[in-house]
Amino acid sequence: MRYFLLIFVLAIATVLGTAGYRGTLTRKSPLELFPDMKRQAKLRPQSETHNLFWEDNRGSRLPISGTVSRNSPYEDTPLNTGRITGTTNFVELNPLPVTRELLERGRERFQISCSPCHGAQGDGKGITTQYGMAGVVADLHDAKTKKIVQQPDGEIFNTISNGKNTMGAYAPNIAIEDRWAIVAYVRALQLSRLANVDEIPADKRAALKK
C-alpha cells in the first residue's frame, strides 16, 4: 500500500508539473483529441484552403479582374460616387435625407473611423498626431482658408471613399450610407464653429450667455 500511495502521489505530481494549470499562456495550438467533424473540408472566410484548389490558397476570394460582385455599387449615381451622373462634378448636397438618425449614425461612425486622426471635434488633433502624424492631418474646420468648409458634400464623400494625398481610402471599410452619414456629421461639426448667436433659437440663447 505504501508503494502504491507513493507512486500515486508521484504520478499526480508529474502530471501537474508537466501539464501545468488552467489558463497558462502557451504557444501550442489546442489539442483536439477526438477530431469528429471539428475541421471540415469546407471554405471559411479568411482562412487558408490548404487543399490547393486555388493557387494562392485564399479562402476569401478576390473578384476576378473585370468583374463586379452583384451587391457592389457600380452604378454611376450621386449616392455611389458623390458626383453628378455622367460628369465629374461633385454633388452639392447629401443625397440622403439628413435626419436626426443619420446625424447620430454619422457621429458614431466619425468617432470610430475619423477621430483617431482628425480628433473628436474634427480639428485635426487626433491621437495619431502625437505619434508622427503632426502637421499632416487636415483640420476639418480649416479656420484660415475655409477651403474644406466650402467644398460640396460630394467632394468630402469622395475624400472618404478614395482618400486624398496622405489620407487613405475608406471605401473598403465604411459602407456607402455610413459615408454619407459621416459627411452630414462633418457638416454639423463645421457649422458648430461657424454659427453665430442669431442662429440659435431664442429660448436656448439665455443658457449660452452665462
Binding site: 488552467r22 475541421r39 502624424m133
Partner: protein, 222 residues
C-alpha cells in the same frame, strides 16, 4: 488446518477499494481539469507574423475595435483588417520600421499577412457575431480584456457550456449598445452594485428588444 488465504488478504478488498477510488477520482478529476476547453484552449497565444499589439492600438491610442474589425456588426464573422487599414496610419507612423516590413509588403503585393487564427469554433457550430454585437453582448464577454493584451490570447473557453450559460439567462450580460466596444465599461465601480444594476437593466433589454437567445440544438448546430 492451515488458512486457505494468508492473513494479509483480509485487508486486500478494502485496499483495492481505496486504491480504485483514489485512481478513479484522480482520472475523473484529471479529465475534467485537463480535457475541457478551460484548459485546452484558454491561454493559447500563438506567435503572430507581425508583433501587433492591441494594448497599443486599442487602449493607448483608443482606436475603436470597429476601425479595424469593421465587419463585426454586419456579418457572421469578424474580419481581420487588410494591410491597407494598417497603412492608413503606418504610411506615416513608423513608416520604415522593420517590425512593419510584412505589412508594407502585403500592401504593395496584395499577398495576405499570414495571421494565426486563435478563436475557432468547430465547423459543426453555427456562430454569428452581428446577432450578438447588435443585442448588447460585448467583445469582452467572449474574448476577454483584448485591449490590455500586448499579444492576443484565447481568454474564454468558448465551449458549449460557455455559450449556454449565457443563452439560458442573457439579460445580465447585456449592456447599452454604444458600450459594446468599450471593454472597460461596467455599470458601476462597485461589483455588487454593478451586478444588481446589470440584472435590472438586463430585464429591460430582454423585454424591450425581445431578446431570444435560443437553447434549441438547431440554433447552433444547423
Amino acid at each position: 488446518m492451515s488458512d486457505t488465504f494468508p492473513k494479509w488478504t483480509n485487508k486486500l478488498p478494502a485496499k483495492v477499494m481505496v486504491g480504485a477510488i483514489l485512481v478513479g477520482t484522480a482520472l475523473t478529476g484529471g479529465f475534467w481539469y485537463y480535457f475541457t476547453p478551460k484548459y485546452v484552449r484558454v491561454g493559447y497565444q500563438p506567435i503572430q507574423p507581425v508583433a501587433f499589439s492591441h494594448a497599443i492600438h486599442a487602449d493607448q491610442l483608443g482606436v475603436d475595435c470597429r476601425y479595424c474589425h469593421n465587419g463585426v456588426e454586419k456579418s457572421w464573422f469578424s474580419n481581420i483588417p487588410a494591410a491597407s487599414t494598417c497603412m492608413n496610419c503606418h504610411a506615416q507612423v513608423l513608416a520604415t520600421d522593420p517590425k512593419l516590413a510584412l505589412v508594407r509588403e502585403s500592401f504593395k503585393t496584395g499577398k495576405p499577412i499570414p495571421w494565426v487564427q486563435i478563436h475557432k469554433v468547430p465547423d459543426y457550430v453555427f456562430f454569428n457575431h452581428s446577432v450578438h454585437v447588435n443585442r448588447g453582448v460585448s467583445c469582452v464577454h467572449c474574448h476577454g480584456p483584448v485591449n490590455k493584451m500586448d499579444e492576443i490570447y484565447h481568454a474564454k473557453p468558448l465551449g458549449m457550456t460557455f455559450c449556454l450559460e449565457c443563452h439560458r439567462d442573457p439579460g445580465k450580460n447585456l449592456r447599452p449598445l454604444d458600450k459594446i466596444t468599450d471593454l472597460d465599461w461596467s455599470y458601476s465601480q462597485d461589483a455588487v452594485k454593478a451586478a444588481t444594476m446589470a440584472k435590472s437593466a438586463g430585464e429591460k433589454y430582454v423585454h424591450d428588444m425581445k431578446v431570444n437567445a435560443s437553447q434549441n440544438c438547431s440554433a447552433c448546430h444547423r
